[in-house]
Structures are given as structure tokens and as C-alpha cells.
Amino acid sequence: MAAVAPANSEDLPPKAPLAEGGQISDHRDGRDVVLRLRGIRTQFGDKVIHDNLDFDLFRGEIVGLVGGSGSGKSVLLRTIIGLIQARAGTVEMLGVDTGTLHGKAKRQMLARTGVQFQDGALFSSLTVTENIIVPIREHAGLEEQTMREIAALKVALVGLPGDAGDKKPSELSGGMRKRASLARALALDPELLFLDEPTAGLDPIGASHYDELVKGLSRNLGLTILMVTHDLDSLSAICDRIAVLLDKRVVVGTMAELLEYDHPWVREYFHGPRGRAARQEHK
């Protein structure tokens, strides 16, 4: 019997049994599972960050990933996109176990996903247009003029002014860098997009414009988005579901479900003054 239970499950047993993929109740509705994590365990030295973590992401939805400082949001994101190797468990992306991918198959998988890093991570020696062209040249290799036109389209799509394409990242403001980075992430029209704190450091007006942009892109281009965020406004405004990192695992639910969820951190997070204010606004 003891062998079945994972080592840390005694710490804090979930209040109610969760549905598949850490959900409070099932929201799949027959959609494709674009990303499936099962039994993920990550650790640095002796410190276990995630243990036996399950999580599902369904096609076409926007999910916000939240958690306290040090709960491993970024680590989870880096594990999913393959920058960190999990000690145990599987990451299944678009129906393929990413652990088994090598060479060409891996490159094709990378072409179907996009990542926007927190501070943009644009290549500083290239202009915005050239930054957007990098993944296109690498994976599709189109004619130069076509690639420039596609890049100009992406620049416009993310709401940057036309002359931003010729600028170097260092000449852009923080908010514009985030948009440029999103344009690069969208270069190959990925099916799955990961955003790391997309609205951190933006002013409230800029942040809400960014939220609308992400929501519009998701709807019009059929994107599935997982975003790490601390912005309660984003969570209530654009996220279909919210994934909370609690006790080394993920609990996923809609805002309404999480408001009912009985856990001290969740209660403090969503019922605190900021959480209340954000909900009021988006009612």
C-alpha cells in the first residue's frame, strides 16, 4: 500500500478529490488536450519544487498560472518548454511526449509552439523585424521579401507602430519590447503559446490593452495560451481557467470554482482586497 502513495502526499491531502489533470471539476467538453502533464517532479538538489503534478490544457483556451513566490511557476513553465528536465513524469505536447522527441521531430514541435519571455529576450543585435524573421528563416526558409512582409504583418498584429520594425530592442520601451517579443513568438503561427508575466511592469492602461490583444489573437488565430501572471485583472478579464500551484501540485478551475476552494493561500489570494477589486471591475 505504502509503495503506491508518492512521498509527499501526506503533507497536505487535497480537500476534495480532483478530476483528471488537477481540475476541480471537468471542463474538457470533448476538446483536444494540447498539453498534458502527468506525474511531473522537479527538484534542485534536495529541494523538491513539484511533485506528482498533473495538468491539462485544452485547445483554444487561455489559462493563467498563479502561485506564491517560490512556488515554482517559472520552473514549471521552463519544464514545459523543455529548458529544465523533469526528474520524473511526462510532458505531452500536441499529443506527443516531448521527452521522446529528437532531431527533426523536435524542431517541428518547437515550430508549433511560441514563448514570450518576461523581458522580451529579443536578440539585442537584431532589429525587431530581423528578430521576427529568425524563426521563419530557420523553420520555413521563405524568400526574403515574403519574410519581411510577414514580419511587418506581425508587427502590426501586436499593435506596434510601423516604424518599430526597424528599431533595435534597446530603442523600445518595456511595453513595446513585450509586444515585439509576442510578435516573434507568433512568427510561425504556433498552436500553443506560452507567456511569462506578459503584463508585469506595464501601466494599467497598457496592461489592459495587452490583455485585449492576447484575447483577440487567441480568438482570431485559434491559439491556446498558458500565461504565468500575477495580474488579477488579467486573470478575471481574459483567462478561461486558472491554474494555482499549491503544495507542489496544480489545482485548476474557473474563477468561480477557485473562490469556493478551501485552501488558505487561495482564499487569501482571491478574497484579498486586490482580488475583490479585480472581480468587481470585470463583473
Binding site: 524568400e143 515574403t146 519581411r148 511587418a152 504583418l153 502590426a156 503561427d189 482570431n220 488565430l221
Partner: protein
């Protein structure tokens, strides 16, 4: 991904030009589509340009790049009418059409214009750099005068810590390199001077060479490489973290807190290191002479005492502290020039090393002229 080919056909329907597209139009499949379209256009014999209606009902898969190409082929223009199979594709075409714009042309600059621009920019930058450096030097002098009036402000503990870094920790590398250079000079000296039987003059070659030039110069180059660069990197990193700004808001003068201890430390350490380098070089020369010349150590140092006057040593010792000040000032100055990004720390560190070595060698030349005129 197995990609179905994109298909394209130009036809007429009820007197209107129509483009029928089908198959897969994604960023991975549209390679070379424009040539293909050109051929299709010729095959259909349709008019070259002009607005066309797009029939996209046969599309299997399309993304923004594909939609962009289709709209381009339909004669560009945001007014092109598109018939789509379903809502999702209609939404995609709509968003692409709204955001279509001409790609700005690739900027190509005439090489001569580029060259002239670079020269002009370089000249102006150099001019600005000199002005700024003079201003910085003035700022340091003000702080130095204040510190002389209140000696506590030299902050001895910080100076001692810096001296540990720039002096004690440099002893091994300076010693080893100067020793080797001493050996090399002696060896070459013996080889060349032997040809006219003057090999005993090797002792003068080593002594004067090390004391006057190589001791202080080699030490200065090593110090510029390891301490000047460290100054720039340390202060630059603090600049990136806004630590320097924080100091200013607290009312601490960064020149007094960061720059003065480093300059003082290097001012004291450089002559000490140069002396150490001189000694290591002489030792190297002596060792080489015992091997190639059958000299004993006593003979070597006797001859050195008799032939190499004290002024050869003093000239080197006069130069060393000046080199130290120059290296420290440039290192700290470039550190304070760092702005914002981590990238500029790297750039300015390189610049600081190049500039300090350049200045050291120029100063060395000036010193030579001065000593020549002074007759020492």
C-alpha cells in the same frame, strides 16, 4: 508535418476575375508560391494586375502567412473580397487584412556615406569622451582636496581592501611574467652581443631595460587587464543595479566612495608592483646569465651595481604611480558610463582596458622625451 501543397487558379466568373485557392497555405508551405502564381496567371491568360475576388472555400489549412500571400495574390488591397469556408477562417482573413502593410524596404547605405558617417561619429565621440574625462578628472580633484582637508575621507579600510585585490593578488602573475621577460632579454642579449664579444653588456641590457621600461610598462599592462577591467565591471554592475543612484539619493558621493579608494589603492600599489616586477626581471636575467654566460650571481649583481646608475631605477618608479592613476581613473570612469543594460558593462570593460593600455603607452613615450630633455 506532411504539408499538402497550396493550389491556386485564376478564372473568370460572371465577368469578374476570381482567384481560387485550396490546399494548405501555411508559413511552411508557401515557399516559392509567387512564381507558381505567376505561371498560373499566364496559363489562365488573365490580366496582370487588379483587384480580384478570392474564393477560399477550398482551403484546408491556413495561417496568417498563408492569408497574407493569398491577399497579395488577389491584388493586394484591403478591399479584396474573400469567400471563406467557415467563421474561423473569415476571422483570420479579417485580422490579416486589417493589419496588412507594405514591408519597409531593406535599408542599404552607400559604402562611402557609411564610411564618412563612421569617421564623423568616431571623431565626435572621441571629442566628447575627452571632455567628459576632463570633467571627471576635475570632479576627482575636488574630492581629493576635500579628502586632504579631512583625511578620514580617504576611507583607509576600503583602500586596504582594494590594495589586497590589486597588489597582493597580482604579485604572482607580475612576478612570473617579469621573471620570464628577464630570462628572454638576457638570452637574446647574450646571443646578439656575443657576435662582437660584448656579451657581458647583457647585464646592462637586462638592468636598464627592466628598470626604465619593461618593469613599469609590463606591470601597468597586467594591472590594466586585471584591475582596470575589474573596476569597470564592479562599478558598471552597481550602475546596472541602480546602486550608484541609490548612493546619490542617500547623499553619498560615488566619486568619494567608489572612485577615490580605488585610485588611492592603485597609486600606492603600482610602484610596489613595479618594484617587485623589476626584482623578478633581474632575477630572471641573473639566472639566464648563469646558464648562458657562466656568470655567478655575485658577478652579475656586482656588474649591475657598477654600471647601472640609480636614475634608471628612479625613472621607472616615477612612471609607475602615474600609470596607476591613469588606469584607475579610466577604469572607474568607464564603469560610471555604464547605462542600463548588462551588455554595456561588457562593452565598456573592453573599452576601459584598451583605453588604459593606450594611455599608458602614450604616457610612456612622453616620459621618455621628458627624461631625455632632463638628461637622466
Amino acid at each position: 508535418m506532411a504539408e499538402a501543397e497550396p493550389t491556386i487558379r485564376y478564372t473568370e466568373r460572371a465577368g469578374k476575375s476570381v482567384v481560387e485557392v485550396g490546399g494548405t497555405w501555411t508559413v511552411f508551405s508557401v515557399r516559392g508560391i509567387r512564381e507558381k502564381a505567376e505561371k498560373a496567371l499566364q496559363a489562365a491568360g488573365a490580366g496582370a494586375k487588379g483587384q480580384r475576388t478570392v474564393d477560399a472555400t477550398g482551403l484546408e489549412k491556413v495561417d496568417t502567412a498563408g492569408a497574407l500571400e493569398i491577399l497579395e495574390l488577389a491584388g493586394g488591397g484591403p478591399e479584396a473580397e474573400v469567400k471563406t469556408r467557415d467563421e474561423a477562417q473569415a476571422a483570420l482573413f479579417k485580422i490579416v487584412r486589417e493589419n496588412m502593410c507594405d514591408a519597409p524596404p531593406d535599408r542599404r547605405v552607400n559604402w562611402l556615406a557609411h564610411w564618412l558617417e563612421e569617421i564623423g561619429r568616431g571623431t565626435i565621440d572621441f571629442y566628447k569622451q575627452v571632455i567628459k574625462l576632463c570633467a571627471f578628472f576635475g570632479e576627482i580633484l575636488v574630492v581629493v582636496v576635500e579628502a586632504i582637508l579631512q583625511p578620514k575621507r580617504f576611507r583607509p579600510s576600503a583602500v586596504v581592501r582594494q590594495m589586497y585585490e590589486v597588489w597582493i593578488r597580482a604579485l604572482v602573475i607580475v612576478g612570473v611574467l617579469c621573471f620570464l621577460i628577464g630570462v628572454v632579454i638576457a638570452y637574446q642579449g647574450v646571443q646578439q652581443l656575443k657576435q662582437f664579444g660584448a656579451e657581458t653588456f647583457t647585464v646592462e641590457a637586462v638592468g636598464i631595460g627592466m628598470f626604465r621600461e619593461l618593469g613599469p610598462l609590463l606591470t601597468a599592462i597586467i594591472v590594466a587587464g586585471r584591475s582596470g577591467s575589474a573596476f569597470t565591471a564592479q562599478i558598471g554592475t552597481m550602475q546596472v543595479n541602480q546602486e550608484v543612484d541609490a548612493m546619490r539619493t542617500i547623499g553619498l558621493n560615488p566619486v568619494e566612495w567608489l572612485v577615490l579608494p580605488r585610485i588611492t589603492a592603485l597609486l600606492i600599489s603600482m610602484p610596489l608592483l613595479a618594484f617587485w616586477g623589476d626584482m623578478a626581471g633581474l632575477l630572471g636575467g641573473a639566472v639566464a646569465c648563469t646558464v648562458y654566460l657562466d656568470f655567478t650571481f655575485v658577478q652579475f649583481f656586482d656588474r649591475l651595481r657598477d654600471t647601472v646608475g640609480p636614475w634608471h631605477f628612479y625613472t621607472g618608479m616615477i612612471k609607475a604611480p602615474v600609470f596607476g592613476i591613469v588606469i584607475a581613473v579610466i577604469g572607474c570612469f568607464e564603469g560610471l558610463q555604464v547605462s542600463g543594460s548588462a551588455e554595456s558593462v561588457g562593452q565598456l570593460t573592453t573599452k576601459s582596458v584598451v583605453e588604459s593600455i593606450f594611455c599608458v603607452i602614450v604616457l610612456d613615450a612622453i616620459f621618455s622625451v621628458i627624461f631625455l630633455l632632463a638628461g637622466v
